[in-house]
């Protein structure tokens, strides 16, 4: 069984102790005060008066919290130490007052204890929230919470042992002393180091007055509702417990002793729950199911109290109260603290004070009113109280379940707030260019500008081009006219309708349509012939000339011919077209033509994308073609490339293109199961890369070692980025990309929130392997984690080089050959030389180099 403090890292131990010790003292003092409070009250007054006290506590809490909100120091540390000291003094004053005994101080102290107890705990956890981020919280809140539970247990055991020997008011003096000591320890906590995150200045603390503003936030409203209903339920459970207690025990010393024993058992059970259960439940199920366990258990206890016979019902009430208080002091307490992490700094403190003090006390008041109503209307029997507990617990559980759904959304919202939106993928020209500006460009005399505008508008707004057809038909550039002809024909319209043939300057085009062969062989004429070849009804003689025109010396002719191949849907010329992507001067024109070809070639382009024999530059261009083309076929081809692309630039490019398409065409879905499967493989690759990184340190040659280290680190970074790109495909909200930026931001809180997002979004098996890798504090720990997760045996240098030589990535193969050659590792010689038959020129070059070096 993993103990909570075993998860605490070495560099976090000081922080943990600095918070755990004061919390131990605060809860110990609170427990002593509570025993004194209940004893004084139950000795002096019947339990039936408690509902009135609950209402009084709520009123007092509202007033006091408002005052505390305006209280002095803004720093959480100074505020807590001040409140601790003031509380200590107040207890000494009450101890003096109790020397005269009586009902008034008993009621006054009950009211006051209800305020200071919650205030101190709230202020303490605000301090803890300030010093600890949401990821550290998973490791540190356990031990800190355990210290609090231990404090309660020690105080309860001490009270049980000495209750019969000393006056109850001594408990108050002891509690005051503990508060003073805690105040001193809190003041000694080191200040938060200023880091680059420069959180926005926290808004002035607000108490009850500020609650109205806070309640406009839906998440805070839900929090308040959950704690209100939970608090009312607990108030009724507590009342039922005290009714049972007063019914069974009458003497004051005996009540203090029984309460001491009860709190001792509560402390013992809490510490077992905190030490043995909390960590395991949090890591296996997360903090939300842990929080749901409390209302579920109370519901079960309420049902037992309702259904058991009279002899057993008190035990059910006792058990329910024990379960409720145990969970509240251990697992639930810790789980609830997570709920505040997604809130912005400006409202977190206010929301926490509102919930912890005002809402909780209001819950007591509401419980009081409810109990008074039940007592007056129905008599308030134990069975009626049990029924009330059941009804309230059902409502509480329903709200907790609603909170389960709201929390991940709030984490995402917080991530969006912390990491502003930014386009992650290259934006295509067509997306950037404003349509209006492009239309204006159609009137420009410069041929290149007009052609560019036509190229983009043809895909975005073909009608805009057609509307300008009469003007374009008279353009001085034959290329512009030819392109217009292609667009008009491609739209299935009659060119004469636009006056294209009749236009005075279109003599060549007109001739093409009538008698092309009779004109002199000018570039314009060849452009016109190439354009005519793209028409659906063009003569075979024009099409036959396309091969020759594709190789024409004139760029306009070639460009028009490329387009005509696309418009004529001539797949037989597709390989030639793709081959021309290797010619830099034709690349853009061919790219446009391929886009024009449309989705019918998306599958073929996909085949090219995953073919390692196709040059990298061509594959990269094909990615942009498919991205611009869009549609399910293009998505399928790109997705295939993102899995089987081989070269990481193809894989990365395909993923970016998919993300771009996903934004533009959200209706095209991707299979989440497949994405998660790829994600698993990516994470595993990342882990293996870490182990390789450790192995390359064995390389004797410093230059080889340094270079391989750089190569593998790059691969790690690239793989890490890919993990988030793949996750973004499964979660199109954009939060995955924001999480990636958050993790790389170097800002502690943003990073923690990004990991929290992953924790809420990833399936359990992925979470268990990815999060430890991300959260490891340094390389050594990350490598250790990777070794534990993906393979117990450390890799040797030789095994690593063998893996590089067998990699699907040519660059890693080349680097592997380099390392083998430099280190003259004979055993890998044959494998390295085999690669001389590789399709990749760099790998072949390296294989020849290695052959010479190892000869």
């Amino acid at each position: 069984m993993a103990l909570p403090w075993q998860a605490v890292r070495r560099d976090e131990r000081g922080l943990t102790w600095s918070l755990a010790l004061p919390y131990f003292l605060i809860i110990a003092a609170f427990t002593l005060g509570k025993i004194a409070r209940d004893t004084f009250f139950l000795v002096e007054l019947p339990a039936a008066y408690l509902p009135y006290v609950y209402i009084g506590m709520a009123a007092l809490a509202a007033v006091t919290t408002g005052a505390l909100g305006k209280l002095g120091p803004a720093s959480a540390k100074h505020r807590l130490s001040l409140v601790l000291a003031l509380t200590g003094f107040s207890l000494l004053l009450f101890a003096l007052w109790f020397r005269t005994a009586g009902k008034v101080p008993a009621v006054a102290f009950y009211l006051w204890s209800g305020v200071y107890g919650l205030t101190l705990v709230a202020e303490f956890w605000l301090l803890a929230n300030d010093r600890i981020d949401s990821r550290q919280a998973r490791r540190l809140f356990g031990p800190i919470g355990a210290a609090g539970v231990a404090g309660g247990l020690v105080a309860a055991l001490a009270a049980t042992a000495i209750a019969a020997l000393i006056p109850t008011l001594v408990f108050l003096v002891a509690a005051a002393a503990l508060y003073f000591l805690a105040a001193v320890l809190v003041r000694r906590i080191r200040e938060q180091p200023e880091d680059e995150e420069a959180a926005p200045a926290e808004a002035p603390a607000a108490g009850a007055a500020g609650g109205g503003g806070l309640l406009r936030d839906g998440y805070v409203r839900l929090l308040c509702l959950v704690f209100l209903v939970g608090g009312v339920t607990t108030g009724v459970v507590d009342y039922a417990f005290k009714v049972v207690l007063q019914g069974e025990v009458a003497d004051g010393g005996e009540i203090a002793s029984v309460l001491g024993a009860f709190y001792s058992v509560q402390g013992l059970v809490s510490i077992v729950a905190q030490v043995g259960l909390t960590g395991a439940v949090f890591s296996r199920f997360g903090h939300r199911p842990a929080a749901n366990a409390l209302p579920a258990g109370v519901l079960g206890g309420g049902l037992l109290a309702l259904l058991l016979p009279a002899a057993g019902a008190p035990w059910a009430v006792l058990g329910t109260r024990l379960y409720d208080s145990t969970m509240r002091f251990s697992m639930s307490r810790t789980a609830w603290e997570f709920l505040y992490f997604p809130l912005g700094d400006e409202i977190k403190a206010r929301a926490k004070r509102l919930v912890d003090v005002v809402v909780n006390r209001s819950a007591d008041a509401a419980a009081g009113v409810l109990l008074l109503a039940v007592n007056f209307a129905l008599g308030g029997s134990r069975r009626q109280l049990a029924a009330l507990i059941v009804v309230l617990a059902v409502g509480w559980l329903a709200l907790e379940l609603r909170l389960n759904r709201a929390y991940p959304r709030e984490v995402e919202r917080s991530l969006r707030r912390l990491v502003p939106e930014r386009a992650e993928e290259p934006v295509l020209l067509a997306q950037v260019a404003g349509g209006t500006d492009l239309v204006a460009l159609l009137d420009h005399p410069d041929e290149q500008r007009v052609l560019s505008a036509m190229g983009i508008l043809e895909r975005l707004d073909r009608q805009a081009v057609l509307a300008r057809a009469p003007g374009l038909a008279r353009h001085t550039s034959a290329a512009v006219r030819a392109r217009l002809l292609a667009i008009v024909a491609g739209d299935g319209r009659d060119p004469n309708r636009f006056g294209l043939w009749a236009a005075r300057t279109d003599r060549e085009l007109a001739s093409v349509s009538v008698e092309a062969a009779s004109l002199p062989e000018t570039a314009d004429r060849r452009v016109a012939i190439a354009a005519a070849a793209g028409e659906p009804e063009s003569a075979a003689t024009y099409r036959e000339r396309l091969d020759e025109l594709l190789d024409d010396a004139n760029q306009d002719v070639r460009r028009t011919a490329f387009r005509s191949v696309a418009l004529s849907r001539d797949r037989s010329r597709l390989p030639k077209l793709i081959d021309r992507l290797t010619v830099p001067r034709d690349r853009e024109a061919v790219r446009e033509a391929l886009v024009l070809f449309g989705k019918r070639i998306a599958g073929t382009l996909g085949d090219y994308l995953v073919d390692p024999n196709v040059p990298l530059g061509v594959r990269q261009t094909l990615i942009s073609v498919l991205a611009e083309m869009g549609g399910p076929e293009a998505v399928h081809s790109l997705y295939r490339a993102s899995r089987l692309g081989g070269d990481r630039r193809v894989v990365d490019g395909a993923l970016l293109a998919l993300l771009s398409l996903q934004r533009r065409q959200p209706e095209i879905g991707l299979p989440e199961e497949l994405i998660l499967e790829d994600l698993r493989q990516e994470v595993e690759r990342n882990g293996h890369r870490l182990m390789q990184l450790r192995a390359v340190r064995e390389a004797a040659d410093a230059q080889t070692r340094g270079f391989l280290d750089r190569v593998l680190r790059e691969r790690l970074d690239q793989s890490f980025r890919r993990i988030f790109h793949r996750l973004a495909l499964a979660d199109p909200s954009g939060r995955a990309l924001a999480a990636y930026r958050g993790l790389r931001s170097g800002r502690r809180r943003v990073r923690a929130q990004a990991i929290e997002y992953l924790d809420t979004r990833l399936p359990g098996d992925l979470k268990r392997v990815l999060l430890p890798l991300i959260e490891a504090p340094d390389d050594a720990e990350r490598e250790r984690v990777a070794a534990a997760l993906f393979g117990s045996e450390p890799l040797t240098l030789e095994a690593t080089l063998d893996q590089l030589l067998r990699s699907r990535e040519p660059w890693l193969q080349a680097c592997g050959i380099y390392a083998v050659g430099m280190a003259k590792i004979g055993i890998q010689r044959n494998r390295a030389l085999e690669l001389s038959r590789s399709h990749d020129p760099v790998v072949r070059d390296m294989a020849s180099w290695a052959a010479r070096r190892l000869a």
């Binding site: 830099p584 530059g617 990481r648 080349a814 680097c815």
Partner: protein, 151 residues
Amino acid sequence: MREVRTLSVVEKAVSLAKWEIFEHLATDEVAMIAVRTGEVEYEAGEVIDPDGPTGSSMHLILRGSVQQSVDGEPFRRAGPNESFGGMAVFGDPIPGEEQVVLEPTHALVLSRDDFEQAVAEQPEFALAVIRAMAEQIRLRGRPQAAISEED
């Protein structure tokens, strides 16, 4: 000046990767530049001819050193792991600029055509070059004494 062929692509990439200019490029992107580079050796005292085969090339020194001057005024001494001639790939040489080889020098060279191709295919490379150029422009505006002190 004589062209040589002593290094493999990865060896070139290993050398190139050491330059500050390439620190933001992935090694496989550096390799794409390496594929395009040639190797030259210069004798000590040789003046690099701006109209010669490497006159409009970017040089990346592996071994040796070159003194750069404008109108006879030295402004920079480029040594191992440093580049020179970057401006030449952008157009005509700067009037009065001269590169004198101070000691036997072995360098990788990237011609204007290959440079343009590399820029077209790898925008990251263009950024890296712009950074290096900005540094050179900054140095040109400073007196030699200050540069020597810095060295």
